[in-house]
Symmetry: C2
Subunit: 135 residues, 2 copies
């Protein structure tokens, strides 16, 4: 029931790229700024690129940028890009994962809780996060 370190780092990556405002940032730069290992950060950035959240340019002046403006990327997207679709319980994403689902009175609760969570995470764009003063 916990966010993976990978997902936390992914959020930090996107946050950094958003604050960089379009200037390509290299893995090393991002990793150092956010206190993460460079090799692991590289892997995460790859996933963000594959998910269409970031874009990369190889070579000398290369690095990573956001593929879309910060207002168009949500926390949910970033999390799902690295740790897959949200799944509070095995039965939520696919009912077939538990054959008790038809007579289970808790199943609908997980569905509801996850929907709430999803909605909230979708409501946080990186523009919004950037403008919120950390406290």
């Amino acid at each position: 029931m916990q966010l993976t370190r990978e997902a936390d780092y992914a959020v930090r990556c996107v946050l950094y790229l958003a604050s960089a405002g379009g200037r390509p940032a290299a893995v090393g730069e991002i990793a150092e700024a956010q206190g993460m290992s460079a090799a692991f950060t590289a892997k995460i950035l790859q996933k963000l690129v594959n998910a269409g959240i970031a874009a990369s340019r190889r070579g000398v002046k290369g690095g990573f940028v956001l593929a879309r403006p910060p207002a168009e990327t949500t926390l949910l997207e970033v999390i799902e890009a690295v740790q897959g679709p949200l799944a509070l319980n095995i039965c939520v994403v696919d009912r077939k994962n538990c054959d008790r689902n038809s007579r289970c009175s808790v199943h609908p609760v997980w569905v509801e809780v996850q929907a709430d969570m999803k909605k909230k995470l979708e409501s946080y764009t990186f523009e919004r996060l950037l403008n919120s003063s950390p406290r």
Copy 2:
């Protein structure tokens, strides 16, 4: 970001005990009814007893009962009894777990999302679950 199997089983245990209505149920009975292994179920029931959710009686006519009426036990309590306090991210339960928390704009989001989740899970008592028709 997923409920452990243990927590899911724990909920099933409590659900079963609630439906048994005060009659002591042995591990084997609970496990069979809910499609869980007996040995693992025994471990989980022990945790529920330690958390004050269930009570046990050893010996021949022994077994497990709920320690309180179903209306007084919530989903949250059962989950926390087996997998510990809810913690959506390392920084939520204790800020010291991440030294970036003071300048992190995402930290408050996790706090908020977890609070929502907690509130919702607290709102589901086992009386409520028992009376809800599974669909």
